[in-house]
Symmetry: C2
Subunit: 155 residues, 2 copies
DNA sequence: ACTGGGAATGAAAACCATTACCATTAGGAG
DNA sequence: CTCCTAATGGTAATGGTTTTCATTCCCAGT
């Protein structure tokens, strides 16, 4: 069930068509790379990974496609403070994988943290409602990051 | 009580001396500018403001000083997605002003939001404790930002 | 299946915030 | 007041991202 159901098209094709965007090899490959990524990739890392299977790719297309994917909500863009943007698939076939990030200020390591999501959800939903009423601000997204020292860097 | 008590030195001089840093006109002026800033300033905006009262200032010094101020915890550095870093005084003579940010994804406006801090504190303290134990991650700082549409951009 | 038009691409150059370099200045301990 | 060295500032370099523009190719309409 992950990716493609038998021979059916990947689950995200509909999202593309719905927005009037064309399906191209670069776009397919970039999403493919992102879906297999173990960690948060930079544009250049994505470029290198795509280049292995599709050498004609250009770095420009990587940037343009990532911007597009962020726009339609398929990809999240992060700044972990290392001078380059990091990208991560927002949702897979299994749905949205809700999580936040721990960033080590010493070695730069980034750790996904999926625990305590319930507390976060509670806090977030309350805050969103309140902000909507008080500030008349329509919240569509949020960012929570923790900074500190990872296990190795504490010694 | 704000800034200087009568003729006494500014409240942050101690922090500088304690770290072994020298007190210079550029540093004094940069903090001065930040303490009077109505909003979140970029390095260039700070440069222009300092330049008015101290024309000999160099942009390099702005960056170096801001890095220093961030390091000693006097200044917070933010990325609101407009391609340049934004800086904000972390604490004033009245103490730390705890708040988070609402970022309009359409016009880029950034709104300070100080309400619901209690809920945030509760959520944060719980999460920090848990992360400390479960992940062995020593949290020293955190970032919470909400993205959406401001009042004007909703129409 | 074919074709036309416009979206998408890629190579190269431009952009621009930030950093490195280095000769000069000046804070402040003694 | 002197000296040592941190701090400064002008300039050049860096490097991630964007712009430009000629070429390619997706795909709706036939
Ligand atoms: Mn993640
Ligand atoms: Mn603020
Ligand atoms: Zn670490
Ligand atoms: Zn707005």
């Amino acid at each position: 069930m992950p990716g493609r159901n038998g021979k059916g098209p990947p689950w995200w094709h509909g999202k593309f068509r719905g927005c009037g965007y064309r399906l191209t090899i670069p776009r397919e490959t970039i999403i493919e790379v992102l879906s297999k990524a173990a960690k948060h990739l930079s544009a250049e890392e994505i470029y290198l990974a795509v280049h292995k299977v599709y050498p004609a790719i250009g770095l420009t297309t990587i940037y343009r496609t990532l911007e597009l994917l962020v726009q339609i909500g398929l990809v999240f863009k992060f700044d972990f403070g290392d001078g380059r943007a990091r990208y991560e698939l927002a949702e897979g076939p299994k749905g949205i994988r809700q999580h936040h990030h721990l960033v080590c200020t010493n070695c730069g390591r980034v750790i996904d943290y999926t625990d305590f999501i319930d507390e976060a959800k509670e806090f977030l939903s309350q805050t969103m409602k309140a902000l909507n009423k008080k500030c008349n601000f329509k919240i569509t997204n949020h960012l929570i990051q923790f900074y500190g020292l990872c296990e190795k860097c504490q010694k």
